[in-house]
């Protein structure tokens, strides 16, 4: 993936967060807490667990559909970041070859099961994180973190980064385009030129920071970035959190999936 698409992807994720659905309207704090609980629950499953993980796909699917997030875009984003987990996980089937189960005459090794478990955990955790941004917006998450007690310095740091990410990426893109046009098809030039470019970019960045600082000073900046948007925990937020905790707890501590299967088998 080139950085051009990366850039446009950030923009797209950002735009998705300005929709107005039930999920988008929930308080950011509730969504941050729910996401962390979700991640913790998923990760807490032992290494050979596959079946009990399946009900947890309900949460991302609900967010996707109720929040009207394009499925294909999300799947593509998940696949793009998968190499590390896949690369490390793929050694499990190779190294752990004990037969764990025989399903329909095919022997399944324990390694494949733990690999599948890693892949499922991967899909669940990554989609939860991406969906948090896609339904909450980055500034929303930042202000939620501020209210949850994160240091003001760190939060304003995040907000600044986000605000100038687009500006500086555009600047870098202009630089890259200029270089490409002058290098006649050799896509990457040597390390020396790149270092110069980064250096120039750095100088411009520092100058920009200076201008930003004076602009902010003249508007009464005192070291913290306040928000005008008043957010309060509504009944729906508490309800959302309660349902979330019940859902996570139920599927974490009780073998519901297996029960459903048993009942189904008895019926037929």
């Amino acid at each position: 993936m080139t950085f051009d698409t990366l850039y446009f992807d950030i923009g797209r994720l950002d735009r998705l967060s300005y929709r107005d659905t039930f999920v988008h309207r929930l308080d950011p704090r509730a969504k941050v807490i729910a996401t962390m609980l979700f991640l913790f629950t998923v990760i807490s499953f032992p290494k050979y667990e596959v079946i009990a993980l399946t009900p947890f796909f309900l949460y991302p699917v609900l967010l996707l559909t109720v929040g009207e997030i394009p499925v294909r875009f999300m799947i593509r984003k998940i696949i793009v970041v998968s190499p590390f987990a896949v690369f490390i996980g793929i050694f499990n089937p190779i190294l752990d070859t004990r037969t764990a189960a025989v399903i329909f005459g095919v022997a399944l090794s324990a390694g494949w099961i733990s690999f599948l478990s890693i892949l499922m955990k991967f899909a669940l955790t990554i989609s939860a994180a991406l969906l948090l941004i896609a339904t909450t917006s980055f500034p929303g998450v930042c202000h939620a973190l501020r209210r949850l007690g994160f240091p003001a310095l760190f939060v304003s740091q995040l907000l600044f980064l986000y605000r100038y990410l687009f500006v500086l990426m555009e600047e870098a893109m202009r630089v890259i385009r200029a270089r490409e046009m002058r290098s006649f098809g050799t896509r990457n030039t040597g390390i020396k030129v790149s270092v110069r470019l980064i250096g120039i970019l750095f100088l411009r960045t520092v100058d920009r920071a200076e201008r930003i600082y004076y602009a902010m000073l003249s508007r009464g900046f005192q070291g913290d970035i306040p928000t005008l948007k008043r957010s309060h925990i509504a009944l729906s937020d508490l309800l959302f959190l309660a349902v979330m905790i019940a859902y996570l707890g139920a599927f974490r501590f009780f073998p519901i999936t297996e029960e459903i299967g048993r009942v189904a088998l008895e019926l037929f």
């Binding site: 050694f91 190294l95 189960a101 955790t125």
Partner: protein, 346 residues
Amino acid sequence: MHMADALLSPAVGTTLWAGTVAVGGYASKKLKERIDDRMIPLMGVLGAFIFAAQMINFTIPGTGSSGHLGGGMILAIILGPQAAFLVMASVLTVQALFFADGGLLALGCNIWNMGFYPCFLVYPLIYKPLIRDSQNSGRIVAASLVSAIAALQLGAFSVVMETLLSGNSELPFGAFVLLMQPIHLAIGVIEGFVTAGVINYVQSARPELLGNIAAVSSLGAGISLRKVMITFVVLAVIMGGALSWFASTHPDGLEWSIEKVTGKGELREAERGIARVLKGIQEKTAFLPDYGFKPEGNDLKKAEAASAWPGIKAGTSVSGIVGAVIVLGMIVLIGMGIRSFRGRDA
């Protein structure tokens, strides 16, 4: 390389998060005491700069593949350790949220691996002593190179330890280390050269700039190394305590690194213990009642293998699979239902 959520256990994730939050709290407290307001926009914009700089990639000599800047070292040199740590933390947070690089639980690990080592270990202990306020460009190159390599080696080794302690991967310690360290040696060399190049360029183009920033943050000279070290020692004791806990439960605890099979058992046992202390979650792992709760640590793996799969009644595992298929089918139906309902609405 970013640590991933999927490879992480709750115990390891929480420990590293705790460490990261402690260091982050310390850094922002320290910064707040002496910071000039103008540092705040500068730090934020430099974070964005790291992203932009990563877009400029270059051909790695001799290989034809391309690399880009990581950023930890360059930030530490320009901003000093505390501010650099916070900027690095924010860069990694944005990467975790927007690019899903790593994930939110692994974010603690990633900030630790890519922020703590360059800013609080390598910068004060390697870069500073080597550079000694010199502005000689050769010295800058040498110091940056050594520092970047050291920082990346520490980070890579951390990824190995975090993955292995989490116990989701079957990779044996030796092979994993042999896989990770050389790759990161190469990355470190490049990172070092780029860092030195940028610092030297800025030094020659705008020599006053580096000094100014250091003066504004007033961290250049008066870093309280002692306090940094105390924090580190405290954290090391906490981490060491966690590690020795399982070492003492299993006297031959270190052999896990060589003997994969028995070692894994001990590891899982230890992690289970910590997790139980933390959350008590494991008490209720109801699906496989005797799964992982055997007191005999060394036979755990075998016991687990025996009880988890073949030992279980065939009917149970079939019903599990049937249940999983039904649940997934229901989720897909729910999703499609909502989607079509919404579609009609719109």
